[in-house]
Amino acid sequence: MDAILKTENLVMTYRVGKVDVNALRGVNLTVGRGEFVSIMGPSGCGKSTMLHILGGLLKPTSGRVIVDGEDLATMSDAQRTDTRRRKIGFVFQRFNLFPTLSADGNLRLAEHIHGNGKKAVNEETRREVLRLLRLENKMRHKPLELSGGEQQRVAIARAIINRPAIILADEPTGNLDSENSEIVLEMLQKLNRELNQTIVMITHNPEAAAVASRIIEMRDGMIVSER
């Protein structure tokens, strides 16, 4: 398997007051290129911490995090930011779109940051992404003029528009009703299949997790099962 993401003995310990909290206790995970992996587990099991470390938002206490050949654990904050810009796309539970920008403005901002101020995305890729996510007619709308499902589709479009090596989705259906959840999950599947996009999604919803090709279960900061 061509691994695009690999963690080795990943440990994360937080200091809360005078107490050390072990959020991750030696996680070893490998994700292949083009894989769709779900990480499940109860609240507090360390899955969000794991996602933040995989995305370079946090630096682990120890261990290695290799994303597309680059070890995030040895990098400075600025270097991790640069890797995130080039290789990682985030999708959040709360969509996290810029409310003052239209859907198109949100996408263009992501393109602008990815391209370091230069235009980086060709129009064909852009049209393909919008077609797959059925957003062609929504681009002039601001987030508050869109339904939750549409907002999340714009957030997915923003994450994928620069064709990152990996998409990290943090409870992407957590704020959606079942109908919109289905649509969003279907979109993620479609992107995975048609664009061979690698996706790591954390969720505590078994139905959502089931759309992935592999499900990893975490508990108390460790991976306890894979299927």
Binding site: D82, R86, F92, N96, T100, S102, H114
Partner: protein
């Protein structure tokens, strides 16, 4: 244009307006104050230079120092007349008071009409010269702007006086009383502020100046042609005043922008987190906030300039104040407005760029 900077400016109109007002206030402070100082000084200096006397004889302080001390003994007039090359002399007193409109200052000269008019060339165009105490002469500008005519009452030295005549052309202060009355009212008998000296041959004024210096040392003898046009060249303290206005403007503008941007950054903590999650480096976040501050400052600068020009026009119409806006001060005010905006936004921008991404994303 659907950029983050423009959309933020449009989506937060109250914050934008307050910030624009802060920068505009700074610009107005600079442009109006420097316009007033330039206008009043240059107007005064131009009138001084057109006074007809080649030499002005006075004491240590600059001839244009606002003062009512009148330190020169009138007896010097007689001694000056005896110096070779001097054609005529005219002592005059000076009183500096608050403007009648409550704005600016009002200069009043005490003159001996015959010698003064002979040197300066002023003539009565309406009414008659001063014949008794309680009478004043005013120039045409004062009459027009103050809506005064012969027989009108006018407040001078805090006393109600009567306009006995209107003179032209303008020379020296716009209001003139008799030197004798000014001496009595100010309690400076036989004193004057300065003595105008007309020379026989203007080409030899420098030689006459040297002769006066030699004959009457420890006085100040100035060639009228050397009176500089321009701010702060003649008036001690003016440069300090202008500097204080500049510093105040920078502080006002920078503080307003700092507070506005600081509040905005706190409100937008989650957005900072989103930018970080998209891979925006610190310099990008700083540049977004700085661009926003600069755009707001630019609007503030334009608004400030427009308001200043309108206010200047209104002041000139409503009072006798003279304003002179110069491109150099307009440019400086603009740059100071933009600089203060950028400076004020710097701390909030750096603070935003250094926020922890995970904490910022979970901010409610």
């Amino acid at each position: 244009m659907d950029s983050l900077v423009v959309s933020n400016i449009r989506q937060r109109p109250t914050r934008t307006l307050i910030s624009v007002a802060g920068v505009a206030l700074g610009v107005i402070l600079i442009v109006l104050n420097t316009g007033l100082v330039e206008g009043m000084l240059n107007d005064r200096i131009k009138r001084e230079r057109g006074i007809g006397a080649e030499i002005q004889f006075g004491r240590d302080a600059s001839l244009l120092t606002p003062s009512s001390r009148n330190p020169v003994d009138v007896a010097y007039a007689g001694r000056l007349r005896e110096i070779e090359g001097v054609k005529q002399v005219s002592p005059y007193g000076l009183y500096v008071g608050a403007g009648n409109s409550g704005l600016g200052i009002e200069l009043v000269e005490g003159i001996e009409f015959d010698s003064y008019s002979s040197i300066t060339g002023i003539r009565i165009v309406d009414g008659r010269p001063i014949q008794q105490d309680g009478e004043v002469l005013i120039d045409e500008f004062k009459a027009q702007h103050g809506k005064l005519k012969v027989g009108s009452d006018i407040q001078v030295f805090g006393n109600k006086m009567k306009v006995s005549g209107i003179y032209s052309p303008s020379a020296g202060a716009r209001i003139k009383v008799s030197l004798g009355e000014m001496q009595r009212l100010l309690g400076v008998e036989n004193k004057c502020f300065s003595i105008l000296v007309k020379v026989q041959d203007p080409d030899k004024q420098a030689e006459v100046q040297q002769r006066i210096d030699a004959a009457l040392p420890n006085n100040k003898v100035i060639l009228t042609r050397d009176l500089g046009i321009g701010m702060g060249r003649e008036i001690p303290g003016v440069k300090g005043f202008v500097r204080a206005v500049l510093v105040l403007s920078v502080i006002v503008s920078a503080l307003v922008i700092l507070l506005a941007m600081y509040t905005t950054i706190t409100e937008r903590t989650r957005e900072i987190g989103i930018l970080k999650s998209l891979g925006a480096p610190k310099r990008y976040i700083i540049s977004v906030i700085e661009k926003e501050a600069l755009a707001i400052s630019l609007i503030g600068v334009v608004a400030g300039l427009v308001i200043s020009l309108i206010a200047g026009w209104a002041l000139e119409r409503a009072t006798t104040l003279q304003l002179e806006f110069t491109w150099s001060w307009i440019l400086r005010a603009g740059l100071i407005g933009l600089g203060a905006g950028a400076l004020g936004a710097l701390y909030p921008a750096i603070r935003a760029a250094n926020k922890d991404a995970v904490q910022a994303l979970s901010y409610d």
